[in-house]
Symmetry: D3
Subunit: 285 residues, 6 copies
């Protein structure tokens, strides 16, 4: 009774030493161009996760028994100084990787992925990236900024190079993004066609998985900065996550772009929590 | 003009004497563990039902002509004293059944079903129960309480016994619920597979039908305390309700777990009203 | 820098002289019987359209390059004097048609369509109408009013006569509307079955296309006055719009019934913007 | 138990025959130029009045014992046909007055007052009007319409003439309204200065009292179409209402311009309910 | 970095052993009769407290330096079984008092006070109670329940007896409450008149202080279940809290009835946090 | 009719050449540490300003006749790159000043003031600053950033030096800010005491006026990122603005920190619009 109040994501209460996955929040949204608010995702998810069960009837697994996650809380990031915030994320991820554990980051806007990938690519020079999203995020700069939620996958490409990025669910971008993308990355528009083949092909490669939740249709996930009609259903995403879970060398992942304030029903947060539970169970060994 | 202001659910304005179905609200949510608010469902549904038509193009029937429903308003239940509230519901239901009419209760949280089933099982000792829900609700106790929204179907089982409860759409619960359930009830996970067969099998049995609206996907029904992604669509539910309507001895039913405050668009209430209209038309003779 | 602040819908910034389509808002909702608010649709759509891209990956076209739309802003309509407001719309539409351009009106409640059709039928006496909606809108009068959102297609029929109106997606109405409709209009209930055939049949006729956005399922479009569960998906609508785009003589169109205040997530507005983009691209030549 | 569900404003449940005051709703807002929604005021107030007590510690009176109010429900008004709606209100008010009772109308937008005043001035040709409001409402026409929420006091002046209208709390209008007003009505800007003197002066005259709730500061009453900072406090209004209650020949009154949808906290509705309770107690004999 | 995520109220991060005050949440609202939701107060306050400063310019003190508060988190209370929940609160409070520390409880509905007072009166049989509230809470039973938010001060009176309860700010209740109160408790209606004298008179007595935040005017504190217009301002409350801080033997206190969901602006939570900061600083030694 | 849609703040529609004041929006909130959203202030104010009158009964002046404001729209600022955004603001302000006009900027977070002051101090090396705010904003750095909403007045002090900054209404800050402030700036805590004297003293000096709207009490202005109870009333602010209007050499001003999304009633935006109208009228000559 007399310990200070501890708050973790549901069922993610292992000690650091025994953990396989290290969950942390990266509450940053300074480059968001339309509607900010993803900075509140991780805190809100921790609070609302208690409306969820630890058990998944989809995978017949339980967070308590079938996963080992340590929740280190949220990074205290510098708003308005994007480079500095990315360095903080990179440094935190690096420590997790150095201890032989895997990072599980909750954004924040999608740019936070860059910090984590910088750390991952240092350890795994042969890194590949699987990317679920509504938006291509392949611009080279956006309103003059090269570090932006709209450029993040281009920046990741700067690190990993051609043929290493595999996008799914993309249904928005400007024309030049799609044109550039055809030369440098693999883009599956609208859905998850070919994901199983991609996973088979990357079976023994080090893979980082980044999940922008706006890949979901806004009907079930309205709480995001830039909703895009025509997305995938929760069950399609669930299936795709289980496919990703077949990878043998998934070295880190993130879930981003929940913006709780735009969905006062709480459904978007509940969906994000359920996605996180299923992701953890799918990738735990 | 000079009658006091009467408010009924749309098209449910028959006199008691001529009614087949007696609609009433059971505004109770004291055991709700996550987000309360279902107490406002019945009042909000009455008010918003005037955005609906009495005619169903799905069933080609009309509430005015093809049903006979008396709306007795809401029970005035005691908050915080669960046993007392359940007794009030039981007593009200008993009177309806004693008059040869059928109860149509609007919850409230799912626990209100227990009050109605207690009355029904007294009149129909051979009672069977069809249960649509996202949650199994089969715990034996919850945070120390045996009377809880999370235990209600276990309490119903105490009354009807093995093999009498048929669950559909279930996609959440702890592991022990599913394990216990396999021994004592019939549970169809995720959807309505096997419903037609169940209805055929129960054709001449007395059946109580309890519909937790969170069986619907939160995309179309966000206004509920514990939204669970991955639910059925409105059209799937509509089809299932028509299947239930084929039962020859449906002795009572309820519709519960709408929590209007969590959906300020009004869509959840509109959906609940439409479900109620279709249910009434499906079960009226 | 020193021009007064101009606001147009995204990518709709051509000069009048070079425009094919003339976009304008008709912010009127005085006859709305349930929940008003559509008057704010056009302004909100202009503001939020900047969260959208000008490029459509569905049609591989771009608003900047593949369309020519002039945005003339909103009409200043008289609230509470329905006849006067309709005359203002009719007059504005007439001028657009007289200049050999096509009107693209953003409602407002559905009654605004009547003003535009009055102008169109004067120029094209052989006018046909394609109508997407959840509601039949075929009443002859509503609460004593003959000019109402609930009577608008009956009023249009007064102008064009039997066999000229083709409805799709209809899932709500009173019985008499459906009965009357069978004699005078073509009504496809629930979905877009037969749309391709209709479009083929009307290939060389002058056609006005009116799109009530509540034809969409409320899961993806909750922000409307009278949400009706059981609607079409965004992708179904997108497909239907492209089918309509095959018409060779589409003389005008409108998009109506967005009520932004009922969807604080902004998703409904985002969907309306995306529908408008796709519509413009589908009908531009 | 077996009466149909009756809903009245809290403590307003007398029979018509025994009533002094006849409460009714006039759910009309078709001429509202900025943000509609007052049509929902009366229904929402009835529902939420149960969060209030019948007893006033301010006046040491109780609605049950110290007033006699019959609640006749809401008129079913025609949206979009302003003349017709006003006639319906006039006719209803006329019947109440003919039976020797006093009308207590809940708007709706402020224009509904015109219907009631038309009836009152027929019975009391010497009618005077006390008017609390943030807005002068003295325009002669508004966007071309002479029947408008913005012209209502000018239309009332057409009926009662110079020197019969006494305005308080006014803090918004165009310049011409204030100029015209100086010639024809008595206007107290910003607060209730001089109200006691006015009441003394009108002690034996027939007086109609119209209370636009936006006279309150938006801090305590945000739920209105056109909030105007700088208004009176609840306690100032309470005091003013008790002053009005000293009139010996108050022949009717109304409370209008609550728009519940704009205040999701429910505070505005709670304030409106409390104002109504205090008004009833202040004017009951 | 590698400790599990700890969440405390801003600046309340002392160890238990060094603490003077022990903060805990009592998330219970099962007897709330109108609008539930206070169960979320403590969690929401912890999260939003980081928008506050630890320093008070009003008292020129700082939470870090001038107070010693340990935050033990929230009790896990049983919903729907009121007696059991109260026992849990009583037991927790008893342990705090037994260790020579003072409880600082965040409700929940006002009934939670009864649990804490039961513990306090065991240790301090001569306990007095200072009570700030909009509502008298003096009913003997409410809808048949003796344990209710509406009866809590009557239940406290059962324990402490006549002349020990001092109420301030009361502006709502039924007539019988005020009548009963005149015999048994001291009630200051509407404001804090006489508070300084009461504090002087109780200078050396053991006093429990219970603060129902709805004593504040709903303009500044809309986020509560039953808002009552006509309340005190924040600055008046601040002044009164500093007066209470002059007591030499304040043995415990609570702050209750924040219901965050009813104020989506976050202002009510921000106000509650600021009140808590000022209260802690006023009573710390 | 055939001009592209122009949107200006109400009554601010002069041509640039004839303008005294040049209004522009600076939609930037990247350094906001708690709740972002001020980027939407200027657009929302333009849209909602049409609920306001151009005439002020407080000052008996009218925007159409008694002011000359050109609205140049919003700057397109770079999110996430704070230095760059400030340079854009500085450059824009410089041009306005170079043309002998005065800038009137709508934020955005308070940091935008730095851009405008940089331009102003170049033209007026003897610049003084009057600052209304709830927060001192005097930190030297915040979470490692020197360019932050929490440091903006410190950064302004870097430019203007000791004795040139006059703060009013301050009620929040950390202790070090108040300590540092005592040496370098003039701070009036809580209200506007001494403002008239300050204005007299600065009568002939060049003065920049920066108004953080959160100086208002959150009861009337909840729509801001960090609401602080205990603020000034609208009428107090109105009076203070008129006092500031007596300055003979006011060279520029800004109004900032409205965050519309946090106040869905629209009251905060309406208040901001009214404040802007009164400010323009007070400082126009």
């Amino acid at each position: 009774m007399w310990n200070r109040n501890v708050e973790t994501f549901l069922g993610c209460d292992k000690e650091y030493s025994e953990a396989d996955l290290v969950l942390f929040g990266a509450p940053f949204d300074s480059t968001t161009s339309f509607r900010p608010g993803t900075r509140f995702a991780s805190k809100t998810m921790r609070g609302d996760s208690f409306g969820l069960e630890t058990y998944s009837p989809y995978q017949n697994k339980d967070l308590e028994e079938d996963s080992a996650v340590f929740d280190s809380g949220d990074l205290e990031l510098c708003f308005g100084d994007t480079s500095r915030a990315l360095s903080q994320i990179e440094e935190h991820t690096e420590k997790i990787l150095a201890d032989g554990k895997r990072p599980l980051m909750i954004g924040g806007e999608h740019l936070v992925t860059l910090g984590a990938v910088r750390a991952a690519v240092k350890k795994y020079p042969d890194l590949h990236v699987i990317h679920f999203d509504a938006h291509a995020d392949l611009r080279d700069d956006y309103l003059g900024a090269t570090l932006s939620h709209a450029t993040v996958l281009h920046r990741v490409w700067d690190l990993v190079g051609d043929g290493r990025i595999f996008q799914f669910g993309i249904r928005s971008g400007d024309k030049s993004e799609f044109d550039w993308g055809r030369e440098h990355v693999s883009t599956c528009k609208f859905d998850f066609s070919g994901l199983a083949e991609t996973v088979d092909q990357l079976a023994d490669k080090p893979v980082y998985f980044t999940l922008d939740l706006d890949v979901l249709d806004p009907s079930v996930f309205p709480g995001t900065g830039t909703p895009e009609a025509g997305g995938v259903s929760f069950l399609q995403l669930l299936d795709a996550i289980q496919t990703v879970g077949r990878l043998q060398n998934l070295v880190g992942c993130d879930v981003n772009e929940l913006s709780p304030v735009y969905d006062q029903s709480g459904v978007s947060t509940a969906v994000a929590c359920k996605v996180l539970r299923e992701l953890v169970l799918a990738i735990s060994r």
